[in-house]
């Protein structure tokens, strides 16, 4: 069993063989991956050492202290948080060897082709078709809300392979080459003025069957792994007190005494308490995971995060008075990543509106909590055993 002392030894050996000061960034990241220190809970040979996930912090601390370069996780979040765990769980040995190393080093950016104009909360109703043609699949359809599509080398894609089956059973999961000539990426401008996301049009895109993840028709089950990891990734960051949006609001309050009112004071204190409790709830969840007693709190963290982000940013615009009437910049841009607390209050207010829609709407998450955590009876379903092709749309 790999323990903390062993990881420190291995990290020291990596640093000795590849001193960060004199080593090329990419060379260092590749060497780190090959030393099993990229994600220690992954298997040996795939960037890990089969060590407990909690021990990653030991490696990260040693490397940070030595000034080693990182892999810029903000830029490759979809690859790290969603594609990688899915490839690890369902990929063939060949797929794991091919994809994981450049994914982790950031040499290859990944995006996610899941949502469609007609399949949002009801993702399983998706209409993008994949038709078998020899050793390939030919894919036609339209995807939407794809961040990083304009930067990505690869995409994780779900498409319908059998329209005669009920919607959840006729889906398969693929790795799509974003450089295929049938892939067209168009920016999708949001209410913030910028285009953080894209629409992706797929026309006769050829995907070799060797790039399928999981069995034909098992795509929905594979996608569950991706989506579960998405929620873990969202609730997974450890933040200090007054981290995130509440810290910005508190700093505003301290810096601008002339704008204070009693009403805003009461509301700020209530939000401060809610933000601190949300932080503690996330911390408790992490402690449960570390002790191997995962709790159901994870399903609720995103709900709390979305509500708080919206209320705090709304408070902030109101607090700022005349400055709240202005906006920093409406220029259409295509940012490489997203920073929810970046830019000015108006941007934060508008961007936070997406927090209760993206990655599962708050309404769907409340259903999940009610039915899977509390065990309440489901809504009657009219679409459950009907062939996808016969569903009304």
């Amino acid at each position: 069993m790999t323990d903390a002392a062993d990881l420190r030894r291995r990290t020291a050996a990596l640093l000795a063989a590849h001193p960060p000061a004199t080593t090329d960034r990419l060379d260092f990241l590749r060497a780190r991956f090959d030393a099993g220190l990229a994600w220690v809970h992954f298997p040996a040979g795939l960037g890990g050492l089969d060590a407990p996930r909690a021990l990653q912090a030991v490696v990260d601390a040693e490397l940070a202290a030595a000034g080693a370069p990182g892999n810029d996780p903000g830029r490759i979040g979809i690859g790290l948080g969603m594609a990688a765990p899915t490839i690890l769980r369902f990929g063939t040995d060949e797929q794991k060897q091919r994809f994981l190393r450049p994914l982790w080093t950031g040499e290859e950016v990944w995006c996610q082709l899941f949502s469609e104009p007609g399949a949002g909360s009801d993702l399983a109703a998706l209409a993008t078709r994949a038709v078998r043609d020899g050793d390939d699949w030919v894919v036609d359809g339209q995807k939407v809300w794809t961040s990083s599509a304009h930067l990505a080398r690869w995409a994780i894609l779900i498409a319908r392979t059998d329209p005669d089956l009920p919607k959840h059973r006729g889906i398969s999961y693929f790795v799509c080459d974003m450089t295929d000539p049938g892939v067209e990426v168009r920016p999708l401008r949001q209410i913030t003025g910028e285009a953080e996301f894209n629409e992706v049009f797929l026309t006769g895109v050829r995907i070799p069957d060797a790039h399928r993840l999981g069995e034909v028709g098992e795509g929905w089950r594979v996608a569950q792994t991706t989506l579960m990891n998405e929620r873990v990734a969202i609730g997974g960051n450890r933040i200090p007190r007054e981290g995130g949006m509440i810290g910005v609001a508190a700093a505003d309050w301290r810096a601008r005494p002339e704008l204070r009112t009693h009403d805003l004071h009461q509301r700020l204190l209530t939000l401060w308490v809610d933000a601190e409790v949300a932080r503690l709830t996330g911390e408790r969840l992490r402690q449960q995971l570390t002790k191997g007693q995962p709790g159901p709190e994870g399903s609720g963290m995103k709900l709390a995060f979305a509500r708080l982000a919206q209320e705090i940013s709304g408070w902030e615009v109101e607090f700022l008075g005349e400055d709240g009437l202005t906006y920093d910049d409406w220029t259409m841009r295509r940012p490489e990543g997203v920073d929810f607390t970046g830019r000015e209050a108006g941007y934060r207010y508008l961007r936070a509106k997406g927090n209760s829609i993206e990655g599962g709407t708050s309404e769907v998450l409340l259903n999940i909590v009610a039915e899977r955590v509390l065990g309440l009876p489901p809504e009657p379903r009219t679409d459950k055993d009907v062939a996808w092709k016969d569903l009304p749309r």
Binding site: P240, R241, A250, L269, A370, L374, L376
Partner: protein, 386 residues
């Protein structure tokens, strides 16, 4: 995050927010006792009687399981445990709205004594008696008193140690054998022990909103007090007791909210209208899911307060204010929703939901309202009023 960039008011980095195996074993013991001896029908019958608390239940809880002495050091016959364990007991008492003087005797009175001089025979004797559970104690302050108050005691102490004055709305005063009375003495604040049965002590029962936590006004007319502490020490130990009480009350509120949510889910999954269980309608299930998230969050806040108090963290005042400001309304909402989602049956005297609503609403006023705790927080985290 490096140390240098953490804000000045950053908390201790690693509060333990989970339950230990020992704490879970303690919970099991308390829950088994309450399931057996304090089901809702029993509680309802008890509060309609003239008895101020369930003395037999208290004996089992305090003496047999030994919860009365959890906060008391072993040298005085206690368990030498701490606020984390006492918080678990309060969660269970909240779940059962059990009419026992645990918060008042084993938390408030014990903590007030712990801040006095342990070498003093008077203090040691009182601690030993309270730890054994054979004596019930009460800190004579209005139940609404927030940590940081009262600034001026309403009882005066004469130079000969006799006490005169009135303290209103003291919880479990009618059940108490020993009253711990903050008083203004000739040389400043002091804390006295007064036998409830002594001459010059009169307790006048009040009809409480929460029938499971009886209230009484206590009048002292030349009653003989035994001095426990004076000056800053007296003021500080009362302050510490109120802070500990408020922090652990959050765990009681968590227990109340947990019961209300579980009962609401159970009822709406079984109750059928319009040909389907009413809990299958999104209009209802979303409300229960929102309450669930609040209960999960209240647990983190309450554990954080109990842990900060247990470790003597300098962050304890912030942790307690956060826990109270958050958990009090969570318990009230859970109880109000319990009534509403039960429909007509929720409005009946027969169904126990009203006991939880009354406890939750009274708890909201107990040891400081959420608003008072937010005001305290404003000072503590440098978010001052306009």
């Amino acid at each position: 995050m490096t140390t240098e960039t953490r804000p000045a008011n950053a908390p201790a980095p690693d509060p333990d927010l989970l339950y230990s195996d020992d704490e879970e074993a303690l919970r099991d013991a308390v829950r088994a006792l309450l399931t057996d001896r304090s089901d809702p029908a029993t509680v309802l019958a008890a509060v309609e009687s003239d008895v101020p608390y369930d003395a037999a239940l208290w004996r089992s809880l305090a003496t047999e399981i030994g919860t009365a002495g959890l906060l008391v050091p072993e040298e005085f016959g206690g368990a030498g445990a701490g606020t984390r364990e006492a918080a678990v007991v309060l969660e269970e008492l909240g779940r059962a709205v059990a009419p026992v003087p645990y918060l008042t005797s084993a938390v408030l009175a014990v903590t007030a004594l712990l801040g006095c001089d342990h070498e003093d025979a008077e203090v040691a004797g009182a601690l030993t008696a309270l730890a054994a559970g054979t004596t019930v104690g009460a800190l004579a302050v209005p139940l609404t008193t927030a940590p940081g108050g009262p600034s001026e005691p309403t009882v005066r102490a004469a130079a000969d140690g006799t006490l005169t004055g009135r303290v209103t709305s003291v919880a479990d005063a009618a059940a108490a054998d020993l009253l711990l009375v903050p008083a203004q003495g000739p040389e400043g604040p002091a804390l006295f022990a007064v036998e409830a049965a002594a001459d010059g002590v009169r307790t006048e029962r009040v009809t409480p909103l929460d029938l499971t936590r009886p209230l009484a006004h206590v009048s002292l007319d030349g009653a003989r007090g035994r001095l426990l502490a004076t000056g800053d020490r007296a003021r500080e130990t009362v302050g510490a007791a109120l802070l500990t009480g408020a922090g652990l009350l959050a765990s009681e509120q968590l227990g109340v909210a947990e019961w209300c949510l579980a009962e609401t889910v159970r009822h709406t999954a079984e109750r059928t209208q319009f040909g389907r269980p009413v809990g299958s309608f999104q209009a209802l299930k979303h409300r229960m899911a929102a309450r669930w998230l609040e209960v999960a969050s209240a647990r983190a806040a309450a554990r954080n307060a109990a842990d900060a108090l247990a470790t003597g963290s300098p962050d304890a005042p912030v942790a307690v204010a956060v826990a109270q400001a958050y958990c009090a309304p969570v318990a009230v909402r859970a109880a109000e929703e319990c009534i509403q989602l039960h429909g007509g049956i929720g409005m009946t005297w027969e169904h126990p939901a009203h006991l939880y609503l009354k406890r939750a609403k009274s708890d909201e006023l107990t040891l400081g309202t959420p608003g008072r705790h937010r005001e305290a927080l404003a000072e503590l985290v440098h978010l001052g009023a306009p």
